[in-house]
Structure formats: structure tokens, C-alpha cells
């Protein structure tokens, strides 16, 4: 056991952790929030708001939530204009564009379908005005039971709910789900009478949280990929080593937390364990306590031992092949949080509440966890990472690389310009860090362009004897005569080390030649974490970023001439 002295966390750190947990989970009232006066440091987000509903009541609380992920904002406003006529004004630089509408103004004039079609046109104009890079956020309408607009509002919300799938780059500010989750009176007719703002002040805070902690970090910040969870006084109450397998308590707050964790896992967030305990004791709890809503197989990596947590966190990041800044460490021990955040750059931390209640409510709105869209690789991710451990064993047993690759029985599918893969291409562009050559971070709207006639896009699926990894890679080129510019090469970190990327490059070069290209230029952007992708490219372009396709092909063919994978092309 490690007996090194523990340096206590600073009081300000502890206060900060508790305050952040409470702010995200159960925000204080408007006055208390106003007094917080967040630092307004870090990343500046420029928001543009076109509106027919006062956004100022929400705006004033945004920085409190943006501050939790190191951002602050400034908003430029259109005039009050139900027609949104200024929405395509040029020269307005913005990181995100908000359309904040008082839908009641249209209810007597348009059917819900007509209203949705009209706003779809205006949203498209906003997407264009943002150069297809800035996300556009549009509010739906909270339903007031018994209100004369209830039926109209429900039909409107259904029609608006279908728009993001049709208009890449558009996301919904889901006021109806904010209302449904709000405790207290969401509407305030007095505010409506005085300022045409129909919501209560607490509702304004809840809307600010939805924007500042759910939507904006997921659209503009770096997403979290994994939760690293302690056990004692985090997933249950009590200390297993002292209270015993039957002595730890699983209370309603823990059950709520376990359900939330299951839901996050189903959405593609990896769950991992990091606990100082005897593994056999932990296995006994998971085996024998029916109240526990989780199984050990739900965790992609398990580090239950007496090593330092900092070391285990580093090992978990290595297991998952992700950067530690994509992990959130949840632990009830402030000293552990302090040591971990001091030792691991970028690691995010959440102080667990021993009852589970506040942990669950804070995780519901923790920046970087909100799903703006479905994660199409969610169902395969945990199993694939668990299979990676078996692959490591296989690699050690096989002796050489070729023997290992042969044992895997890899099957690779290469899809040409497959538009149904659009949302996965968008995901990979925004989620991959290590194998992301151009760091283009394509917006949803820009991802549409990669299926245009002047482009060639290869999407790559992989399965082997141990798991189905799903759609794991993308190569995107724009063609101009004999020159092909490879805008982006993306591969999931789950599949690196098996030369899938090299096999794909070899076939991609062939496809480019078929389209008349003779030279290839790679868009390479140096980022803090994409060294693996840049190093890989140097194997085929030892100097510079442009070469004859024949030369690149020759080096790629040499690199994988004995690769035993079965490859199928789908055109």
C-alpha cells in the first residue's frame, strides 16, 4: 500500500468542486446566480441571437454555466423581428447562432407544419450566413397544459423535432424538455405582460443551463468520452474494506445514479472503475447485491487495486486509447481529485456526493456529456475496447505481427461516397484526436459537402474474430483535375495498430486514380494530440505533404503486402 503523505486540497478547490456540482445539478435562484460573477476568462464564444422573444433574461445567466468548462460569451442581437429578416446579414462573425422565437406570434397565422417550414428556410439562411461552420440553435416551445395553444404547440414541436435530421448544422434548444424537467412554475404571466417574456426567472436559469452546460459545450467544446468512477461513497455509501460486501448501502440516490450511468453508456460514454479496494470484494458486491444497477461487464476498463489513483487513471486512458482530457474522474475524496487534476493535464473532475443524488443531478448536465445527436458507434464501443485486451493477449501469443493479424481474421468494408454514413463522418471528425490528420472538425453542414460530386469519400468498417468495431475510418478528398486534395483522414483510436488505415489508403489511392487524379496533396494540421496520424503519413510521404499517387501507392502496398485481411469494396 502506498503510504506517501497526502497533501490536502486547497479550501478553494473543495469549495469550487461543491459549488460546480450544485450549480450543474440544482442551480441557485436568479439573484444568487447573478452574484456569482464568473471570471469571464478562457475561451470567448461569440453568439448571435436573432429573436422575437427576449433572450436577455437567459443571457445574463449563461456565463455561470459556460465558466464550468472554461468559456464565457458575448451576444450580438438582432432587432425584435418575428420575420427574422436580419438572419442572413453578412459580416457577423459568430461561433454559434441562436434563433429565439416567440412561437405564439405565429400560432394564429400559420399551421404548425407551415411554421416549421418557414423557420427551416430561415435556419438554412443562418447556416449559410455562418459559412456552414457555426451551429444554429432554434428553440421549440414549452407546452402549457390547458393553454389554447397546447395542441398547436405539440404539433409544432413534433415538426421542429424533425428538422435537425434534414438540416445538418441545426440543433434544437429544447424548451419543452427543460420545462418537463423543471420543478416549480415554468411560466409567469406577469413577466409576459410586462416584457413579453412568458417564463419565470427560475425557468430562465434552467434554459441558460441547457444552453451553457448541455448544448454549447457539446457543439463547440471537446466532448467527454469516458467516466472514471470511484466505488466507495460514490457508487454506494460506505467503505467496502471496512463495512464488508453486505455492509455497503445502495440507497435511492445510488440507484438513480446507476440508471443514469447505464443511459450514458447506452449513448456511447465509456464507463470505467478506479478504486482502491480488493478486486475479489468488488466482484462479490457486483455478484451478490441485486440493488446495484450496473454489472462489471458494463465497464470498459477496471482498475481496482492498491496502486495510486493517478497511475490507474493514466492506465485507464491507455486502455481506452484516449487522451485523459476526454475523461471525467468522479470521486468522493477531494484529495484524490486534487492529486489527479494536478498530475494529469486536462483531466476533468467531479466531487461525488456519498448519497449519489447530487452526483446524478450534476452528471445530467456535466459539460461534454450531452448528446446533441445519436452516437452510431455507441453499441459497439465498450465491447470493442474489452476485445482490445484480448487482442493484446493474442498479439503476445502470436509472436509476430502477421501471425497476430491472421489470427484476428479481419474483414474490412470500404464504402464509396456512402451518404447514409454522413452522421458518423461528422462524429469521427469531431471525436477523433490522435488519428485526425487535418483537424478540420467538420460542422454538420460541412459534412454534407464531402458527398458532393467534386469529392471522393471512403468510409471504412471493420470486424474481426473478437468484435464488430463498426464504422471506424474516413478518407475525404476533393478532386480538381489531376490533383486530389485529401482534406481529412480520420480513424477511431480503437482500431489503431492493425494497419487498417494503410490498407484503406492503398485502395483510396486507386479510387483517386480512377477519377483521373495523378498527384495527391494531404491537408495536415499539427495539433497537440494528432502525432500518430502525422507520423503515419510520413511513412508514405517522407518529405512534404504532396506526391505522385503512384509513389504513395507503392509505399502503402509495400507496408501491407502480406496483410491477411479480407477487403470488400462497396461502390
Amino acid at each position: 500500500m502506498n503510504l506517501e503523505p497526502v497533501s490536502p486540497p486547497r479550501t478553494s478547490d473543495v469549495r469550487g468542486w461543491v459549488a460546480t456540482r450544485q450549480l450543474l445539478g440544482t442551480p441557485p435562484g436568479a439573484s444568487a446566480l447573478r452574484r456569482l460573477k464568473p471570471a469571464r476568462t478562457g475561451r470567448l464564444l461569440r453568439l448571435r441571437c436573432d429573436r422575437s422573444l427576449p433572450f436577455e433574461f437567459v443571457d445574463e445567466f449563461l456565463d455561470a454555466f459556460l465558466d464550468t468548462w472554461g468559456a464565457h460569451h458575448q451576444t450580438s442581437y438582432s432587432d425584435y423581428d418575428p420575420g427574422l429578416s436580419q438572419i442572413d446579414a453578412s459580416g457577423l462573425e459568430a461561433d454559434a447562432r441562436l434563433i429565439f422565437l416567440d412561437w405564439r406570434l405565429l400560432a394564429d397565422r400559420l399551421t404548425p407544419a407551415e411554421a416549421a417550414e418557414w423557420v427551416a428556410g430561415r435556419a438554412q439562411a443562418a447556416i449559410r450566413a455562418g459559412g456552414r461552420r457555426s451551429p444554429v440553435l432554434l428553440n421549440n416551445w414549452p407546452i402549457k397544459s390547458g393553454d389554447r395553444l397546447e395542441k398547436w404547440g405539440r404539433a409544432l414541436n413534433a415538426a421542429l423535432g424533425a428538422l435537425p435530421a434534414r438540416l445538418p448544422g441545426l440543433s434544437l434548444i429544447d424548451l419543452e424538455s427543460v420545462r418537463a424537467g423543471f420543478r416549480g412554475e415554468f411560466f409567469d404571466p406577469r413577466n409576459d405582460q410586462v416584457s413579453k417574456f412568458p417564463f419565470a426567472s427560475g425557468a430562465a436559469v434552467a434554459i441558460a443551463r441547457h444552453l451553457g452546460a448541455d448544448l454549447l459545450p457539446s457543439l463547440l467544446g471537446e466532448k467527454l468520452k469516458a467516466l472514471v468512477l470511484d466505488l466507495d461513497d460514490t457508487l454506494w455509501r460506505g467503505v467496502l474494506g471496512e463495512d464488508g460486501v453486505g455492509g455497503v448501502l445502495i440507497e435511492p440516490g445510488h440507484i438513480e445514479l446507476h440508471e443514469l450511468l447505464k443511459a450514458l453508456r447506452a449513448r456511447g460514454i465509456l464507463l470505467t472503475l478506479c478504486s482502491r479496494n480488493e478486486l475479489s470484494d468488488v466482484e462479490a458486491v457486483f455478484r451478490s447485491r441485486p440493488g446495484l444497477g450496473l454489472a462489471l461487464t458494463d465497464f470498459a476498463s477496471i482498475k481496482v487495486n492498491w496502486s495510486r489513483k493517478v497511475d490507474n487513471l493514466v492506465a485507464i486512458a491507455a486502455d481506452l486509447n484516449i487522451h485523459a482530457s476526454a475523461m471525467l474522474f468522479v470521486d468522493d475524496n477531494d484529495s484524490e481529485l486534487a492529486k489527479a487534476s494536478g498530475a494529469i493535464s486536462g483531466l476533468r473532475t467531479l466531487l461525488a456526493d456519498p448519497s449519489g443524488v447530487e452526483t446524478a443531478s450534476a452528471l445530467r448536465h456535466y459539460p461534454g456529456l450531452f448528446a446533441v445527436s445519436d452516437d452510431s458507434a455507441a453499441s459497439v464501443r465498450t465491447g470493442d475496447i474489452q476485445a482490445n485486451r484480448r487482442r493484446q493477449t493474442l498479439r503476445a501469443e502470436a509472436g509476430d505481427l502477421n501471425g497476430y493479424l491472421a489470427a484476428l481474421k479481419m474483414e474490412i468494408d470500404l464504402h464509396r461516397d456512402c451518404r447514409p454514413h454522413l452522421s458518423r463522418v461528422h462524429e469521427l471528425s469531431n471525436k477523433t484526436n490522435q488519428f485526425n490528420l487535418g483537424l478540420a472538425r467538420l460542422s454538420a453542414s460541412e459534412t454534407e459537402e464531402v458527398f458532393a460530386p467534386d469529392h471522393l469519400t471512403m468510409t471504412v468498417s471493420l470486424r474481426d474474430a473478437l468484435s464488430d468495431s463498426g464504422l471506424v475510418g474516413v478518407l475525404i478528398a476533393r478532386l480538381n483535375g489531376e490533383l486530389a486534395t485529401v482534406r481529412e483522414v480520420l480513424f477511431s483510436c480503437r482500431v489503431l495498430g492493425r494497419e487498417v488505415e494503410t490498407l484503406s489508403l492503398l485502395r483510396f489511392c486507386g479510387w483517386l486514380e480512377e477519377r483521373g487524379a495523378r498527384r495527391v496533396r494531404f491537408n495536415v494540421v499539427e495539433g497537440p494530440r494528432n502525432g500518430p496520424a502525422r507520423d503515419w503519413l510520413k511513412r508514405f510521404l517522407p518529405e512534404g505533404t504532396e506526391a505522385a499517387i503512384l509513389d504513395v501507392k507503392a509505399l502503402a502496398a509495400e507496408a501491407c503486402k502480406t496483410h491477411p485481411a479480407t477487403i470488400k469494396e462497396h461502390r
Binding site: 436568479a30 439573484s31 447573478r34
Partner: protein
């Protein structure tokens, strides 16, 4: 000015992010920052701070700090009566 008045004065100054000369009444019409949006923010802040609730007519009537104080004190006195 009594403690309610002082507290109200500080709250208004904080919410409007401005400063007032001590002892001087503040007229809404003469203070551009006290616009309709900020008026509502003020009402919300005062309601939350003092645990009272103004009706729509009262919200419209509030046109100065002194008027605000009078209405607030009446509300607080009503609360005290109710709880007595």
C-alpha cells in the same frame, strides 16, 4: 432610510450595475438603464430576495425607488400580519 430601503437600494444598484447618490430617490424615467427588461429583472431579484410576489398592476406601478420601497414594505408587513 431603513434596512429594507437600504437592502432594496443595494439590490437595485447591483442588478442595474450602476450607483446611486445616497438619500436621493431614483426615478425610473430618468434612468435609461432601468428599461423594461431590467425592470423585470429587478422585480425577479426583489421577489427572490424578500420572498414576496408583486401582481402585474403593481409591477407596472413601480416607477421609482421610493414607490418600490413603499410597495415592498406593504408586502412585508402583510406577510408579518399573516404569520402573526
Amino acid at each position: 432610510m431603513n434596512s429594507t430601503g437600504n437592502k432594496l437600494r443595494v439590490l437595485i444598484a447591483e442588478t442595474l450595475e450602476t450607483e446611486f447618490a445616497p438619500g436621493v430617490d431614483v426615478q425610473r424615467a430618468s434612468l435609461p438603464v432601468w428599461d423594461s427588461l431590467n425592470h423585470l429583472r429587478l422585480i425577479m431579484a426583489v421577489e427572490e430576495e424578500f420572498g414576496v410576489r408583486f401582481d402585474s398592476d403593481e409591477i407596472v406601478q413601480i416607477d421609482s425607488l421610493s414607490r418600490f420601497q413603499t410597495l415592498l414594505e406593504a408586502k412585508l408587513a402583510g406577510l408579518e400580519t399573516l404569520s402573526a
